[in-house]
Symmetry: C2
Subunit: 413 residues, 2 copies
């Protein structure tokens, strides 16, 4: 089998950065965003690219919003800047009941425009120019951009791929310097689908505590774990209380990506500072989305609420899609070698043929097979030679996309 | 008359900034946000404080959103990062038809989480650490915070109060240095209610062009001008094309403050850079709010659309409230001296009694008269000795609030 070096070019953006501040000029637009732009010019392609599952926001949330639109004028107005009190209380209840995490709704959490805003605001708050921030490699590319925006230095600690993208605790220790300020950790992980074990997380927490580092945890996929694997949240480590900034989202759990709503839990001291950034960028999270989020939590009692049933069905369906995607990848073993994901809806296979770059492969898959994948090098140095495949698409689309890849790959067999 | 020095304390926030980056630690929480927090502990107070008018989002927008919630699954999902194409086209149409501004919807505008996100992202994009940013004083406090966040130096140019808060063009020229990078201008203006003339704006534009500065224009109140005063937008100056970053909002025009939706117009080169920040903080503006904004624009044809009628009624009612507020202020001339606002819904009176600080007065009005006003010193040095009064509240509330102030002020007569 042979795959020639791609003849395709990546998307070109305006690179004239005259008069642009360093914090922004140095950020290169991630491949995750480039691919859909390129793909929009390729007719009829199927996406294994972006992290949007095929599911719609469920009716019990929509109907609650419609009801409020008809009866409650406040839905169109600013909320208090840290969020609606009743939503903050519902969030505190959920944290306590579902995860055993105690957070004062008044002072230790706030409602953000998705986990992304919370993470960006947090990194801007704790990272001074030149500070080093440790993060696994590969890692969700937005975190890298957010560190660069804060003028920090991303310091990559490669994950151990052959052990299912495990954390390399010694690797973290080896990268510590006097400038190390924080650790960013996404768990369950985008793009590898890894779920870190309690042992790994406790070891990481120990590093943070002993060195006085902040840990910024992105737990947007916290509900999406397969095979009944136990889930351990960094937020349940008491010693980390003052050092942990945990960011959560409604986007994935309730299929609400477009509503831009999430929340952050941290010490009151840190929340007070991060709120300054939240105020400068957002004023408040969209009020209508706060109503939607409140409806979502109200329907989720941990037992048999409509929200619980919806989430259960979602996990079951995504679990089936994972099996399906893995089965199809097994048939492409001359092209991809992968570690089975344990959470989220991504798999991050290594490209088997030697000398084939991930951008090259992704561009050929786009133009020749008409399938969108995300080249791995956008996720940090260890991402090179890999692609990210999302199995969030509808089964029929997944099936057709893998058919196309198989047909295409067959030429080179 | 005598007003004693206030015995009340301002709100105390956690000021331990250990480990917090300078860009955030140096921002002090503005009085605009402190007052509502203090007020939430005072029972039954009336607000002349925050910039939320009493109007609800109009039904023609709500019904369009309800229809979409029932029929269009895409409403719950991420939009393209710069915004929904049909919304961007509707914005470009409106800019062309209502203002004679040409902007390519593909490359020269993007949809933001309110004008605030656009301005914060822009200042972060063009302001390097240590760059100086000129802005009038008084000025909307969030702009000051956004400049500080970008590690820029706010350089205040006092407005000429006795000429209706006019721009001091020579003042701007005198403050230019080799580090001057940009000018921020809110027009119509928060907090003074000033509307700058074409001559003032052309003179400012000339400074920007000759010195190669960016102008960041906050035109959130662009529709709200009284007495049929002509309105001139910086965006209609062709020579400023590459230097102007104009930010607009749906919040005030369609009473959509809670939806967090606005847009920015600039050169393609600048938009490409600002989108990196938008992506890191927001991914995309809330999709449901983009549907609402699209419905708003669709109903606004510049003639007799439902949107036009709504806006016309809004202006008429706010104009009446302005007259009312001014009449009541006339009766309080021993306490306040004011310049009549020409746009927006703020008036920024000077406190007449000597030696009475604006924070002291605002706190006494809050605790003794149970009326919320915003102390002026949060709006820059020239704001000292003033308070901001919003006349966006319902007439009955305005009436009762001024009754209370009159009763309270009577004690000291």
């Amino acid at each position: 089998m042979m795959i020639e070096r791609s003849v395709y070019k990546s998307v070109g953006r305006n690179e004239d950065a005259t008069g642009i501040a360093r914090r922004v000029a140095q950020i290169s637009v991630s491949a995750i965003k480039q691919m859909p732009v390129l793909a929009s010019r390729v007719e009829g392609c199927l996406s294994l690219g972006q992290g949007i599952p095929s599911f719609a926001t469920p009716p019990f949330i929509l109907e609650a919003v419609i009801e409020a639109l008809r009866t409650d004028e406040a839905i169109g107005k600013y909320s208090l800047q840290p969020g609606m009190p009743r939503l903050k209380e519902a969030i505190a209840d959920r944290l306590r009941n579902a995860k055993g995490i105690q957070a004062d709704p008044e002072s230790e959490l706030f409602v953000s425009c998705g986990a992304m805003e919370a993470i960006a605001a947090t990194l801007s708050t704790v990272v001074e120019r030149g500070d080093e921030v440790l993060l696994p490699s590969p890692n969700y590319s937005s975190h890298i951009e957010q560190i660069l925006f804060a003028e920090g230095v991303p310091v990559f600690v490669p994950l151990i791929e052959e052990e299912g993208w495990k954390l390399d605790i010694d690797g973290f220790k080896n990268k510590l310097t006097s400038r190390t300020k924080a650790i960013v950790l996404c768990n369950p992980m985008n793009p590898t689908g890894a779920v870190f074990s309690k042992e790994e997380l406790l070891a990481l927490a120990e590093i943070a505590v002993s060195r006085g580092l902040f840990i910024i945890a992105d737990e947007a996929y916290d509900f999406l774990i397969y095979d009944d694997l136990p889930y351990f949240s960094l937020a349940s480590i008491p010693e980390l209380r003052d050092r942990l900034i945990a960011c959560f989202s409604f986007s994935k759990m309730y299929c609400m990506t477009g509503w831009r709503i999430g929340y952050m839990v941290a010490s009151a001291r840190v929340i007070d500072q991060v709120l300054k950034v939240h105020d400068a960028f957002a004023i408040c999270a969209p009020t209508i989305s706060q109503y939607a989020a409140h409806a979502a939590l109200k329907a989720t009692n941990g037992l048999d609420g409509e929200g619980d049933r919806f989430i259960k069905t979602l996990i079951k369906e995504l679990s089936a899609r994972r099996e399906f995607a893995c089965a199809r990848l097994d048939m492409l073993s001359h092209l991809f070698h992968y570690e089975k994901p344990r959470g989220a809806y991504y798999v991050f296979p290594r490209i088997v043929p030697e000398g084939v770059g991930d951008m090259d492969l992704a561009l050929r898959l786009l133009y020749e097979a008409r399938v969108i994948t995300i080249p791995g090098s956008g996720f940090g140095p260890t991402g090179e030679g890999h692609v990210r495949i999302s199995f969030g698409a509808a089964r029929e689309d997944l099936n057709r996309a893998f058919d196309r890849i198989e047909d295409w790959a067959g030429i080179y067999k």
